[in-house]
């Protein structure tokens, strides 16, 4: 056997993409279902609303995804998001800075708070779950102390106007922003040394360290990026609402994990799927909107989301096990798993 460097010759390419193909198929199925049962689903009004919530969900998903890449978690993204939101409100309304400057500073604040998380995690060696659980509380509390929970509602009118803007009748420019961020993340993880280092640090920190990857730095950068992305998601909501409100971000936990996990990003680290995260967010948004339009949703929606997440991770799990079994024969821990099941 000679090694082949032609990536197209890889037998596993299709298998690798099968998760995404499956996800896309499910989404198409739901769109078909909702469209035929509730024609209003594809009205330009609903499509616009959908594209706008999708944009926010995607970026929230990205924010968690970049940290999952390192095998860590960031429970503070909601808190970081709302800090950036309130900072932008303060800068625009009270200080009167121009919109781009205020937005840039708010993004910087988000990045800084993310950096703080990363720095403490790396320096203390404490699990990111605990650190970000605590910092979520700290950041939110700090924001409330400083802002007195006052909504900033006299923002420049351009803000709300941008949020309402429609391209092509039903696409929010926010969605394009989200997709542009996605493209940048694809470049980061596929075409840069930094992205590879983050993935290597997530897959096997010790091996990466001994291969010369500055693992601590990679983790800190991933958290910084996560903070900046959380801030972006918050700012997108500012555009959408035309106001900077302290209640933003308080229910981001579930969607932030839904999108990347549905999209096949591993909790163990070392692998991300940007396209998967986008599709994951699309599935969630579709379901939410569709179930509401069909009048099933509302109160039962939460149950459906939970069950979908369970089903997705379980299908993924068994698909993975099946693929592994085919290529490797019986694997040890699989045997262990079976024995555990019988015990």
């Amino acid at each position: 056997m000679t090694p082949s460097s032609d990536s197209r010759a890889r037998p596993s390419w299709l298998a690798e993409q099968s998760n995404l193909i499956g996800l896309a198929a499910i989404i198409i199925l739901f769109w078909f279902l909702f469209t035929s049962l509730a024609p209003g689903f594809v009205s330009s009004f609903n499509l616009f609303a959908l594209s706008r919530s999708l944009a926010v969900d995607i970026v929230i998903g990205f924010s968690t995804m970049v940290v999952l890449a390192t095998g860590g978690m960031n429970l503070a993204i909601g808190s970081i998001g709302v800090c950036a939101v309130m900072a932008s409100g303060y800068l625009m309304q009270t200080i009167g800075l121009p919109i781009p400057v205020a937005m840039a500073l708010a993004l910087l604040l988000g990045a800084f708070l993310g950096w703080l998380n990363g720095f403490v995690i790396v320096r203390s060696g404490v699990n990111s779950f605990i650190i970000t659980l605590a910092s979520a509380s700290l950041f939110l509390g700090g924001m409330l102390i400083l802002s007195k929970a006052q909504t900033f509602n006299a923002l420049p009118p351009e803000i709300a106007a941008f949020g309402r803007m429609r391209w092509g009748g039903f696409v929010s420019p926010l969605l394009l922003v989200a997709l542009a961020i996605g493209a940048a993340l694809v470049v980061l993880f596929r075409f840069t040394a930094l992205g590879r280092e983050i993935l290597a640090a997530g897959a096997n920190p010790r091996a990466a360290e001994l291969s010369g990857v500055p693992v601590g730095r990679a983790i800190i950068i991933a958290h910084t990026l996560s903070g900046a992305l959380a801030a972006s998601a918050g700012l997108m909501l500012v555009f959408r609402l035309g106001a900077a409100m302290p209640s933003i971000g308080q229910d981001w936990l579930l969607p932030s994990f839904l999108a990347p996990v549905l999209g096949g990003t591993l909790l163990a680290g070392g692998f991300v799927s940007v396209v998967g995260t986008i599709l994951g967010a699309l599935l969630v948004t579709t379901l939410r909107s569709g179930l509401l339009v069909m009048q099933i949703g509302n109160f039962w929606l939460q149950l459906f989301l939970g069950l979908i997440l369970l089903a997705a991770v379980m299908i993924d799990r068994y698909r993975g096990v099946y693929a592994e079994r085919r290529s490797l024969g019986r694997k040890t821990n699989l045997g262990r798993k079976e024995s555990g099941r019988r015990a």
Partner: protein, 323 residues
């Protein structure tokens, strides 16, 4: 590397783990008692003890999953489900109080069992499983109640939630019994020791013939059972079965065991330290009302407290490692 030196250091270490919390509590008590004459009044003590009850059981619910290196994000969601189930059974179906309570506990345990089985059978991270089931439990709760609470609960049940003997609320009885039972379970019974063994070294436990998967399922089931118990207590305390019970349990459920020195990796938990941590949190909350501190600070201080506790533990571990 003399064994004796390690031992004495270890003893000191253990003593420290207790003392830091105890000292913080004593300082808090003394400060508040000096600052405000109202602090040690009978009613204020009653109020503090009363708010202690539910939080303590919630903390225990999380502590048990932490013991085996798992986590349970669904404590609050499961609590909410049990709360409305118990309320509904009493109001709509007219179940007698004890029957409703037993059914509620069974639902809690059942939810925990589902968490455990899913985690063990699929091998998927417990974080994701319980995140998903939390959403599902909340969904069932909202779907059944449409967010409308059950108000008409039996008078005897509600009376239990508000009754007291001087400063001691009746409500304190179940958490105290649970704490004693749990301490006994973890220290002196075979399943309790197995639970700690699996958390301490899963591979070793398995090689020693302990059914690891079974123990993890047990930990989740007990966690669900305790979440259910906490919910029933919350219903009694509030006098109505609110669908919103449990929505803000998550942070607290992790905060108390972690402040009490539990490690996420498992195997190291303490009933007493967790209880002390809850006492500390309750004192701080009460003190903030007493000192008329800006309500915004509550959130901030809780986060700071977790970080401080983790930092302290880390420092101790580093020092112990250096010795």
């Amino acid at each position: 590397m003399s064994q004796n030196r390690n031992l004495t250091f270890g003893q000191r270490f253990l003593a420290n783990e207790w003392s830091a919390l105890a000292v913080a509590i004593v300082i808090g008590l003394v400060t508040l008692a000096t600052l405000s004459s109202a602090f040690l009044t009978e009613f204020n003590l009653y109020v503090m003890l009363r708010s202690f009850c539910v939080v303590l059981i919630v903390a225990f619910a999380q502590m048990l999953t932490l013991a085996v290196g798992q986590m349970n994000l669904s404590v609050g969601a499961l609590g909410g489900l049990v709360a409305i189930a118990v309320g509904g059974m009493m109001e709509k179906w007219g179940f007698p109080v004890p029957v409703a309570i037993l059914c509620g506990l069974a639902i809690g345990a059942g939810g925990g069992l589902i968490n455990g089985l899913l985690t063990v059978r699929t091998g998927i991270n417990g974080f994701i499983i319980t995140l998903a089931t939390a959403s599902a439990f909340t969904g069932i709760n909202l779907g059944i109640t449409e967010s409308i609470p059950f108000y008409n609960l039996p008078a005897s049940f509600v009376a239990f939630g508000t009754g007291r003997i001087s400063a001691l609320p009746y409500l304190l009885l179940p958490p105290v019994l649970i704490a004693i039972a749990l301490a006994f379970f973890l220290a002196r019974t075979v399943p309790g020791r197995q639970l700690l063994a699996v958390g301490g070294n899963p591979q070793a436990a398995e090689l020693s013939g302990i059914p690891r998967d079974g123990v993890i399922v047990m930990a989740h089931t007990l966690s669900g059972l305790l979440a259910g118990a906490a919910a029933i207590l919350a219903v009694a305390q509030l006098g109505s079965a609110q669908p919103s019970i449990g929505v803000d349990w998550l942070l607290m459920s992790f905060a108390a065991p972690i402040i009490g020195g539990a490690a996420l990796a498992g195997g190291h938990i303490s009933v007493a330290a967790t209880a002390l941590a809850v006492v500390l949190i309750v004192i701080i909350q009460n003190g903030m009302v007493l000192a008329k501190v800006d309500p915004y600070w509550v959130q901030f201080l809780l986060g700071a407290l977790i970080l401080a506790a983790v930092g302290l533990n880390r420092l101790r571990a580093v020092r112990a490692g250096g010795a």
